[in-house]
């Protein structure tokens, strides 16, 4: 579970910095359009950050250094975190990666987290998952999730459900104003709170606006 923030953190590092200096392992052809500077791996391949070991693996990858990285069925892997997006479009200038067509995340902290789509902001390391999110472990579901990966926080927004099998209880939040802040500690524990400090709430919900 605790790898969730680590994963996003790693992802941010990878996208913001690492992909500026990565090794390319194409699975087939590597097509470089000299006019646009866009490199396409039509048979897919792997982009590996030599420093962190973060790897982006996809059956199709296109990138332009300093401008974008696009991938289909992108699978990102770091030590313990597996991340999958049907479609990844990283706008290097805006510093946001749009994730579409289904996102899935597995880590020792959160397993089986799924959402139809979302966005990832490498700096400051915030992920927004929208359209109905659900995780297997811990067992929760919410309309929207905003996660500050550096601070190991996840804010559930809108109607939510959070089950604690140890307690044998199911917590529910009602209506569009419902919220639940999940804080993961280093030992893998999670604490939950509906009274979110006002400044934190403002800072995290600001990422709900796309630009």
């Amino acid at each position: 579970m605790r790898l969730l923030p680590l994963l996003f953190f790693a992802l941010s590092v990878a996208l913001a910095a690492a992909f500026a200096a990565f090794t390319v392992e194409p699975a087939g052809d590597q097509v470089v359009d000299l006019a646009t500077g866009v490199t396409t791996l039509p048979d897919g391949g792997r982009l590996v950050d030599a420093e962190t070991g973060l790897a982006l693996e996809a059956p199709f990858i296109a990138y332009q250094e300093g401008v974008f990285v696009r991938a289909k069925k992108a699978r990102m892997t770091t030590e313990k975190v597996h991340f999958f997006a049907e479609k990844l479009d990283y706008d290097v200038k805006k510093g946001v990666a749009r994730l579409e067509g289904g996102v899935r995340l597995d880590s020792p902290w959160i397993e089986g987290l799924k959402a139809p789509g979302g966005r990832y902001y490498p700096e400051p390391g915030v992920a927004v998952l929208e359209g109905g999110v659900a995780a297997k472990k811990p067992d929760f579901a919410a309309k929207t999730l905003v996660a500050d990966l550096k601070k190991r926080l996840a804010l559930l927004l809108g109607e939510f459900r959070f089950a604690d099998p140890e307690l044998g209880v199911v917590l529910k939040g009602k209506g569009k104003n419902a919220r639940l802040l999940l804080v993961f500690d280093e030992k893998g524990g999670v604490s939950a709170e509906t009274e979110v400090p006002e400044d934190l709430y403002k800072r995290l919900t600001a990422f709900l606006k796309e630009d």
Partner: protein
């Protein structure tokens, strides 16, 4: 208690919204928890402005905590309902098996139960070290169990006294009905100043009504000594303590005088029976609605059936009877009708009630005769008037032998503490006019009898009934022609629970409707 009930009602309304509608809810095996905010930290789940709905219990609390390790719910300053009964509690702990309340106040009907501890287990509510306050009794028990409509307690103590438990009722077990407020104490002991008065197997109390305690002993002197018991209670099975409806009388009058009389009587709701013995003769009276039978001294006898029929404001009583009246040399059967109509009108602040009545008798033994009259009552603010008149008409020259009420008039005018009363009794040939003042403490009357040519001035002081201690209320009557005409003294002694009264009256110069003599009367009343 009213405030408590109001709170309970308000709380009931607050609960009616339902815990499922709370912004944040928790579904646990033992119930549903809700709140306006929640936090889960280190295995402790805290709800703020919380509510709970479980089997047989629901409540609100400012803060509710669920402990992961103990699998226990904790709350303080709780307001709720247990099996439909509103309660408040200082603290609450709940597990799947049991809900425990500490410092509980529970409202069951009109009864307020305060307990050190309450345990709710499914459909049972068990209470420990409890004190209950009912409208008329204080009640304590070591342990009790609240069921749907009754409350069963063990090791019970009850007292009708608000202070100084002069009267104590104890029992091994008691069952309290929340429906009718009746408390049945089993294997009881009744104590007065610590002395055991009785050990009834079953003692029933009506906790909604004050027990009516009377002191039936009579002592007086009027043409001889009067001594005996009047209206002493004869408790019946299933009749609450102090709510006895059957009474007996055993009274000797005129002892040492020319006409000693012994009276025996029993009265029950709707029925009375009495026998008087005097000088080898007997007078018997039996009344059991609608029958009435009487034999007077000297052999006059009378039998009547008079059922009461009501149709709206009209009341009819057909009469059928037989009588033997040697004094009037009349005997035979008779029939008649008594009719009364009551008219009520409210004209702004003016309230008027007018009731005319008629009674007609026919008999083969005497000529027909009739009595009629009316009663008028009116009030306007602090002013009130009552006037009653009764006239009779005898169609033949015979005696008004059977049903007969003597004609007369009575007028009463009242304004606050002041009154003017005039009475005229045609047959008895006397009349009286009285001007009175009846204040909170002092009373004064000026009475005048035109036919007797007599005046009397009465003065009295009424002491407030003492909580503890003695109070004296003297009164006198003074006749300008004869001097002191009457004197009275009432002594009230209060012990914090009961007020004991000794009333002594002496009449030196009687009016036509009273006799000279003196009487003592003892009374007993709960404060």
């Amino acid at each position: 208690m009213r405030r408590g009930l109001a709170l309970a009602v308000l709380f009931g309304l607050a609960l009616a919204a339902g815990c499922a509608d709370a912004p944040y809810t928790l579904k646990a095996p033992f119930g549903l928890v809700g709140g306006e905010a929640l936090s889960l930290k280190a295995g402790r789940l805290v709800f703020k402005k919380a509510c709970f709905e479980g089997e047989g219990v629901r409540f609100l609390a400012p803060l509710l905590t669920f402990d992961k390790k103990q699998k226990t719910l904790f709350a303080e300053a709780v307001r709720g309902q247990a099996l439909g009964h509103p309660f408040t509690a200082e603290r609450l702990t709940a597990t799947e098996a049991q809900t425990r309340l500490m410092g509980v106040v529970l409202f069951a009907g009109k009864v307020r139960i305060r307990a050190r501890e309450a345990r709710i287990e499914g459909e049972r509510v068990r209470l420990f070290s409890l004190v209950a306050t009912t409208p008329r009794y204080r009640f304590k028990a070591k342990e009790g169990e609240l069921l749907d409509d009754r409350f069963v307690a063990l090791g019970v103590w009850a007292s009708p006294c608000r202070e100084n438990a002069v009267i104590e009722l104890e029992g091994e077990r008691a069952a309290f009905s929340l429906q009718d407020g009746r408390l049945l104490i089993e294997k009881g002991t009744a104590r007065y100043y610590g002395c055991t008065l009785a050990r009834p197997q079953r003692l029933l109390l009506d906790t909604r009504r004050a027990p009516k305690l009377t002191f039936p002993l009579r002592l007086g002197y009027q043409n001889g000594w009067t001594v005996g018991l009047v209206d002493f209670p004869i408790p019946q099975p299933e009749e609450p303590f102090g709510a006895w409806q059957t009474h007996g009388t055993l009274l000797a009058e005129g002892l040492g005088g020319p006409e000693p009389t012994l009276s025996l009587g029993v009265s029950a709701p709707g029925a009375r029976f009495g026998v008087k013995l005097k000088d080898g003769d007997a007078a018997i009276r039996l009344a059991a609605q609608p029958f009435f039978a009487e034999r007077r001294f000297g052999g006059e006898s009378y039998l009547k059936v008079a059922p009461r029929l009501k149709a709206g404001d009209l009341e009819l009583r057909p009469l059928l009877g037989a009588a033997q009246r040697p004094s009037l040399a009349v005997e035979g059967v008779f029939a008649g009708l008594h009719a009364r109509y009551t008219l009520k009108a409210n004209l702004g602040d003016l309230r008027v009630r007018y009731a005319p009545f008629f009674e007609g008798i026919i008999s083969p033994a005497v000529a027909p005769y009739a009595t009629w009259g009316s009663r008028l009552e009116a009030s306007l603010g602090a002013f009130s008037l009552a006037y009653q008149s009764r006239l009779s008409l005898d169609l033949g020259a015979g005696a008004l032998a059977f049903e007969y009420a003597p004609p007369g008039d009575a007028l009463a005018l009242r304004y606050r503490a002041f009154s003017l009363v005039a009475e005229r009794h045609h047959d008895a040939g006397w009349d009286r006019v009285a001007l009175g003042y009846r204040g909170e403490r002092f009373t004064a009357d000026l009475r005048y009898g035109p036919s007797a040519g007599r005046w009397e001035l009465g003065l009295g002081y009424r002491a407030p009934r003492p909580k503890v201690g003695l109070a004296l209320s003297p009164s006198i009557g003074w006749d300008p022609a004869a001097g002191l005409s009457r004197a009275g003294l009432r002594l009230d002694y209060g012990d914090g629970c009961l007020v004991y009264t000794l009333k002594m009256d002496a009449v030196f110069n009687p009016w036509p409707d009273e006799a000279a003599g003196f009487s003592w009367q003892l009374g007993l009343d709960l404060r």
